[in-house]
Structures are given as C-alpha cells and as structure tokens.
C-alpha cells in the first residue's frame, strides 16, 4: 500500500485480451462482466452488476439464417430474428429509487416491469409482432408480460429514442408499455441468470443469491439489446446484450444497523474466480469520498477515474482475471467500514415526484413536480405521461407552472384515450428555470368499469405507470464523447453526443388510485334477501288464503291441567 501509487497511478481499462486465451480466431463473441459498488451517504450500499455480451452477426443484413450461438443466448437470438427487433429493453424492478437520498442510478428503471422495443422498418404489422413478442418474453422471463396489450401500450413520439446505432427514427416502430403491478421474485431471476454465458457458476454471477438480493430496498434486473459499433471505425454493427442488476442494500434490514459492509454480508458469498469466458471481469469500488467517509480493505493500488453522470469519480479496481487479486485465501471479500457520519451528499440536479390530489371516488388531480436544482442553468426536459383510459383526463385543465408563473411547453403531443382500446399519452417539452420547482397538474374523472373488468382484489386500487422525465442535464465535468474507446461498462451505456451535458432519465412514483368499486357480494345478498322475503312473506300469505280451518277439540295446555288439578282438590270450578 503505497501512498504515491494511490495519487499518481491512474490507469484506464488495461487490455488483458492476450491473457484470456479462450477466444479462437474464428469466434468473435465477447463477454465482459463488471460490478460497481458505491457506498451511499445514508449508510446504504449500492451494487450494480453489468454483464455485456457482444455478438458479431448482422443476420438481418446478410439474410442468412443463424444457427450457431456461442456466448449469446439462443432464446434471445431467435426472438430478435423472428420479430425483426432493432432494440429491446426490458426491466423488472422491485422498490422505488430514492433520488434525493441515493443520487442517480447508472441504469434507471421504474417500479414493476417496463418493456420498450424498436422494430425494424421492414416490419409491416408492428402491433401483431408486439403482441407475440410480449407473449414470448413472458415465457422466457416467467413474468405476466402477456397482460401487455393495446390498452397499456403507447407510441411515444419524442421520448425513448434508440440507444443503439441507426439514424431512422420513425416512431411508428416504437412500442412502450409498463406493468407497475408486476412482482419480481426468484422465478424472474432464475431465467435471467441462465442467459449468462457462465450461468451462476463462475465469475460475478455467483454473488446473485435470491435470498439476499430480494431482502433489499431496491432490486432491478434488466436486459438491454441494441446494435453497437463493431470496431473503432464503426462501419458495421454488432449486437450487444447488456444484463444489468442494480440493488441497494438497506442499512437497517440487511446491514443490521452497523455501518460496515462486505461482499459476504451483502451477498453471503465471496468471489473466487472470474468467468473463464470473460475477456474482462472487474470490481469497481467508488472511493471518491474515501478518506473522510469510509475505508476499504483490501486496499489496491489500481485506480481508475471515470466521468459518469456528470461527475468525475475515482474507483478502486479489482481485476478478477489476475490471480493475485484473490490473495492467499483464494477468495476476494471486500470490506468497507464507515469512519464517521457522512457529510452532505451532492444534490441531484434533476428530481421528480408525482402524487394524486383530491378526494372522493369521482374526480381527482394528478400533480407532477419536477425540481431543477442547478443554481444558474436552465435546461429542457421531456415529460412523458401514460395514463390508463379509466382515468379520464381533462386536458383543458392542464397547467404548467414554474415559480408560480405559467410556463408554456414548447412542444406538446397528446393522444387521447379510447375506452378499452388505448391509454392517454401526453408528452411535453418544458424548459425548467434554474433552481426552481415546476408543477404540472391535470384533473381527471374516474370511470366505472364493467363488473368483469375488475381484478380479483379491486379494493387494493389500480396502478398508473410512472411518468418518465428525460433530460440533457448540464454536466460539471467534460463528458467523454469518444464512444468506441475502451471504457468501463457503467459509463458507456448511454451514448454521449456533446461534452457539456449528459442524458438522464428519471422515473416518478407510480400512482395507486381507487376506482368506484361495486359491492361484489351484492348479488348473493340480494338472492338471499329476496328468497327469504318470498318464502316467508308470500308463503305465509298464500297459506292464509288457501288453508281451510277446522275447529279442533282443544286440549288444555299443561299449566291449565295442573291448575285444574289444584282446583279439583280445592273444590273450585274448573277452567276450560
């Protein structure tokens, strides 16, 4: 542990391609894996796994059938070719990302399931392909993605531009849908792990144990497939599959209140080897706040700096392809110990919230609040709202106010809902003044559904998917625009076009609204009541009318008989 090496030694991703000799000259698949650990100021810890498989085939262009899969999973390759998919992004999230406490995530995702797909322009029936694609994906990931249909699919006109190569962006070929209610559990993690070349047997994926991963504040797993540059000149394309898993472990539930984290405490496993099929396998620990906030052991001289999310951060790099990383025990267990109470975290520049206002079961109001925390720069944001048809929006009540003054959006795209066919889609480009809060309000009315359309538990409420705020936020440090250079995976996800800003997407909370719910026990109660009334009321009335009465010899009741007995003894006249 040499102080000089800490200060002076800054290296970018060392090229170890020659060392990993699993690649034959003919095969061109490449696999990289990476884990980034970022300690948060509140004592929680954020771990982000990224697994990237590069597949050098452009089957759509050459027209040849592909039957040889090496590292790229066959199930996804067949999906891509069958449905002419240009880009596919699917994520499953449990929990909500708290931007104000945790900062910005590397890969944002909304609660529940989110799927957005760009199809090729050769597709004639996009809706048909979309329907079949959601069914196939629901089988692959064991999720209820088959509930995605035209009632919750939208075609955003300006958000969700492709993250991969290409120039044509006709939004008729884009489909976006969310299922805010979707649960993530082990049955989603199992097939996700099976897509990795090494499975969960070697490399960083051995840390992915469901009992620990789901005992967290935030868990998100995603699959991103897009075409990327094959080489430096960028003359041809290759497919890139990125599997990302973001998890935030809570200090009090998983950490037992002690501000001390280790790989074993987080994942109940330690690392023993890299995946043999990987060309690079690294663990990055964010030590930008190192000396004051916490200490890291084992210390490593290998450092790396990266500009990510508009900030220059320093990372300790642990290279798993090198044997000396594992030390004498042949296992790597990182230990982070907090030293004091952390200082103030840098406030994230963009932050959004959403809530429902109003009372009763007839009307309501959706408020979306967007905060711009930059002291002097204003920047535009694109807000996309997709509201289900049963919340009927009154767009004439739409107001956008910043600093208590009207703020007219420079672009509005609104597609009204069609009952039971299409949801509302509202996209607005709003200029946020510096250091301000912008509020977007719109009133709605709740619709009454048909009784068969209610879920088995309608009193829980109905979910409205998160709003998406996309923005180019001014960056504090110059971003790296050279995309083809060797960069760590977490900083090379979103393509950077200019140095002064970085692209960020913020998701708001999903809403839970109660719709006027009928009383489903009513038919049963009515039947019981009616039958009782008919049986008792009409029955006895009918009896009274049709029964003939005959006088009967009355037999004295028991009490009178006893009284008569006493009277006979006394000699008094008897009762009748």
């Amino acid at each position: 542990f040499r102080l000089s090496s800490l200060i002076g030694h800054i290296s970018t991703c060392p090229s170890l391609i020659g060392q990993c000799c699993q690649r034959h000259p003919g095969s061109v698949d490449e696999f990289q894996e990476e884990l980034v650990i970022r300690p948060l100021h509140s004592g929680d810890i954020y771990a982000s796994f990224q697994f990237r498989t590069l597949w050098d085939t452009d089957f759509l262009q050459e027209g040849q059938k592909v039957s040889h899969y090496r590292l790229f999973p066959k199930s996804l390759g067949q999906v891509l070719s069958k449905f002419s998919v240009r880009e596919l992004h699917i994520s499953f999230t449990q929990g909500f990302w708290r931007t104000m406490q945790w900062g910005q995530p590397f890969i944002p995702s909304p609660p529940g399931a989110e799927l957005w797909v760009w199809f090729h322009d050769t597709v004639s029936d996009v809706d048909g392909n979309w329907k079949e694609l959601t069914n196939v994906l629901s089988g692959i990931f064991c999720a209820s993605l088959n509930f995605i249909d035209l009632t919750n699919t939208v075609q955003p006109s300006a958000s969700f531009k492709p993250l991969g190569l290409g120039n044509a962006t006709d939004h008729r070929f884009l489909r976006y849908a969310t299922l805010p209610r979707e649960i993530v559990c082990t049955e989603n993690l199992t097939p996700w792990k099976k897509l990795l070349p090494c499975g969960s047997k070697a490399g960083l994926a051995v840390l992915l144990k469901s009992e620990k991963l789901f005992h967290s504040s935030f868990h998100s797993q995603a699959v991103h497939i897009r075409p990327v540059c094959q080489d430096e000149q960028c003359t041809s394309k290759a497919w890139e599959l990125r599997q990302t898993l973001n998890v935030v472990f809570d200090l009090y539930t998983a950490g037992q209140g002690k501000k001390e984290w280790s790989l074993f405490k987080m994942f109940s496993r330690t690392l023993t080897e890299a995946c043999p099929l990987a060309t690079s396998s690294k663990v990055y620990v964010d030590i930008t706040d190192n000396p004051e906030l916490f200490e890291l052991s084992p210390a490593t001289p290998l450092l790396s700096q990266a500009v990510v999310l508009g900030d220059r951060r320093t990372y300790s790099v642990f290279d798993l392809t090198r044997a000396e990383t594992f030390g004498q025990l042949r296992s790597l267990n990182l230990l982070l110990r907090w030293k004091g109470d952390g200082g103030e975290m840098l406030r994230p520049l963009l932050h959004a919230e959403r809530y429902v206002a109003g009372f009763g079961l007839q009307t309501g109001e959706i408020h979306t609040v967007i905060y711009n925390n930059h002291p002097y720069r204003a920047f535009p944001v694109l807000l996309m709202d997709s509201v289900p048809w049963y919340l009927q929006l009154y767009i004439h009540t739409l107001t956008v106010t910043s600093k208590s003054r009207d703020n007219k959006p420079s672009y509005i795209h609104y597609q009204p809902a069609k009952d039971r066919h299409r949801p509302h889609l509202l996209e607005m480009l709003i200029q946020l003044p510096p250091h301000s809060m912008t509020e977007v309000t719109v009133q709605f009315e709740r619709a009454l559904l048909k009784w068969t359309e209610y879920t088995p538990d309608p009193n829980h409420g109905f979910y409205v998917g998160s709003s998406v705020v996309s923005a180019l936020v001014p960056s504090m440090v110059a971003m790296n625009t050279n995309f083809t250079q060797d960069q760590p995976l977490f900083s090379s996800f979103v393509p950077v076009k200019e140095e002064s800003s970085y692209f960020v997407r913020v998701y708001t909370e999903p809403l839970l609204v109660n719709l006027p719910t009928p009383d489903f026990s009513m038919p049963y109660n009515v039947i019981c009541l009616t039958c009782t009334v008919v049986a008792v009321g009409y029955g006895s009335f009918y009896n009274l009318l049709t029964r003939t009465f005959q006088v009967d010899e009355p037999s004295l009741p028991l009490a009178k008989r006893l009284a008569n007995l006493i009277r006979r003894i006394r000699g008094v006249p008897l009762l009748t």
């Binding site: 034959h24 000259p25 003919g26 061109v28 050098d56 040889h68 449990q94 329907k131 079949e132 069914n135 196939v136 629901s138 089988g139 064991c142 209820s144 088959n146 509930f147 006109s157 300006a158 531009k161 492709p162 993250l163 991969g164 190569l165 290409g166 120039n167 939004h171 649960i183 559990c185 082990t186 049955e187 199992t190 097939p191 144990k209 469901s210 009992e211 789901f214 005992h215 540059c229 080489d231 000149q233 960028c234 003359t235 041809s236 535009p380 694109l382 420079s410 672009y411 480009l429 879920t455 088995p456 538990d457 829980h460 996309s470 923005a471 180019l472 393509p495 076009k497 692209f503 489903f520």
Partner: protein, 313 residues
C-alpha cells in the same frame, strides 16, 4: 392477496420440489401460483417459503420457474392448459405438451367446498367442469394415465364426477369434512406415502381408482412423480466437423467508401420543437358519419326529387 393462503403456496411448492428432485425437468412442469408469498412485503424472509414452522426447508429454493402467477391463475387458463386450447402465441413453457404416452400428475390445493374449488377468491371450478376437461383430454389423446390429487376441504367431491378411463384420484378429505393445514402438510410432506393415522390427520383421505385400468397396487408412485431421461452411452469417438468459418473481415477496403454509423441523439430539442404533427392515417368514415350522410341524402332526395337534380348541378 391473503396471507393466510401461505400454506397453499407452501404445499404446492413442496410437491413441485419433490417432483423436480425425482427427475422431471422444468419444461415438463406447469406451475401455477395464485398469490405471491415469497416476495410479498409481509414476508419477513423474502424469497423464501417454508413448509413447516421450524423453517428448516425453504421450498422456494433458488431454481424455481413459475409459469402462471398472480392474476393469470384463472379457471379459464387452467382448463385451457389441460385441454391445450391456448392462443397460438402462448410460449412453450406455459403449455401442457403431452401426448398419449404421457403420465400426468395434477395437484390442486386451496379452498374448496362440496363440488367446487375456489380460484382467486372470485371464481370457482366445479367438479363437472373438471370431469369434462378430462374427457376432452382423453378424446384428444392427451394422457396415458392421470393421477389427480386434491388438497382442499371436502376434496373428495371433486372426483365424484369423473367418467374418463385411466384416472386415479386422491383427496385429503371426504365430503363434509374440513381439511386443515395440519393435514395438508402431513399429506403432502409425503413422500414416503405413509398412511396418515386419524389422530394426526383430522380428515380422512379418500381415493378413487375404479376408472383405472391397471391394478392400483402395481402402480409405482414414480410413474407420476418422477421421470427418467433416456440416455445413450457410447464409447465410440465421433469426429466433429471443422469449426465455423470465420466471417470475412469487414475492414474498409480502399475502393468502397462505407460511411461510419452513428448513434442517435437522445433528446434532439430542436428537432422535437419543429416536429411536424404526425400524419394520421386516413381511415374510411365511421359508421355514424356514413349513416348521417345517408340520412341527409335521403331527406334531400325525398324533398326535392331526382328530376330536380339537374337544376342544382
């Protein structure tokens, strides 16, 4: 979603686990769980489901694949899986791909009554529907032998109406009896198939074997619970063909100028502001508009008559 249905999920998962341990792969299992217990916020140990209160065995495990979950578990989906009448886009993992040589094990658990089983607290499947579904399966040759196990209150009433051949049914309680969670776990935590004494299982198990063609005593449990994969062992050496030809190097040659590809701008503000409104596809006029115009034309011709047309045009 009701937390007291935890035991049903635990029972189903124990059966699932035993069946997997005895050799049946996930591709041959259709698992339907109506409630999510493992990752529910009320579960103090997430991603785990225990079948016994001493929490020794996590039946959820690390390798579970649930095919139908949550709202997908409906009577309609269940019957469609049995009869095979699913929409064409249904993935393979959600289908029952059986033929006339397959032995099928069906295990149902939940709340039930005399002649029905509850699904999701809002609908029921009746014993007649189930019997008809099995008859459809027999007619379409979808099973060789079928073992039906039901673990609900008054479960024996569910198999009273069966009429297709080669069916064997087991229930955890007779008509008129309630099956409690204790008897469930003892009944399913089987798998030695010991006879459950009356003192431990409050209800009496029932069975029906009259439709079964073979002698029930000679049937192995593993006929339904386990499977053996056919493996061929060979000692010969097999020559693999030569490796895949490396693709032709696509580096730019001198003559052809291939332009380099670029990434798309994520938020092209100028482009968005000047975006032309989307050209809506022209649809032929709606029925209402057509009707309205027909009415107008009819009234017009009625009042003015056709011979006056030439004065107008």
């Amino acid at each position: 979603i009701f937390w007291f249905n935890y035991r049903h999920v635990a029972n189903t998962l124990s059966v699932y686990r035993s069946v997997k341990r005895l050799g049946i792969p996930d591709s041959h299992i259709v698992l339907m769980l109506a409630d999510d217990m493992a990752c529910n916020y009320r579960n103090p140990k997430p991603a785990t489901v225990f079948s016994h209160k001493n929490m020794e065995l996590n039946v959820y495990g690390d390798d579970v694949e649930v095919d139908y979950r949550g709202y997908e578990v409906t009577v309609e989906n269940f019957l469609r899986v049995l009869t095979g009448r699913l929409p064409p886009s249904t993935p393979r993992s959600k289908r029952l791909l059986s033929d006339d040589r397959s032995n099928i094990l069906i295990y149902l658990t939940g709340h039930g009554g005399n002649g029905f089983l509850k699904f999701q607290d809002s609908e029921e499947i009746s014993n007649m529907e189930l019997a008809d579904a099995f008859e459809q399966m027999w007619q379409k040759r979808r099973y060789n032998e079928l073992l039906f196990i039901i673990d609900t209150c008054q479960g024996a009433s569910m198999y009273e109406r069966f009429y297709s051949p080669n069916l064997m049914a087991l229930a955890s309680s007779q008509v008129g009896e309630d099956s409690l969670s204790v008897s469930h776990t003892f009944f399913t935590c089987l798998f030695q198939f010991k006879v459950c004494p009356q003192s431990q299982c409050v209800s009496t198990p029932g069975h029906r074997t009259d439709l079964f063609q073979r002698d029930p005593g000679s049937v192995l449990i593993t006929d339904f619970f386990g499977s053996v994969r056919k493996v061929e062992i060979t000692k010969d050496t097999i020559n693999l063909t030569s490796p895949v030809e490396p693709p032709i190097k696509r580096s730019g040659s001198g003559d052809i100028q291939i332009e380099s590809l670029t990434y798309v701008d994520q938020l092209p503000v100028a482009e968005i502001i000047h975006q032309k409104p989307k050209q809506k596809d022209w649809h032929p006029p709606d029925g209402f508009i057509l009707g309205l115009w027909t009415l107008i034309l009819l009234v017009f011709f009625q009042t003015y008559g056709i011979k006056h047309l030439k004065h107008i045009f």
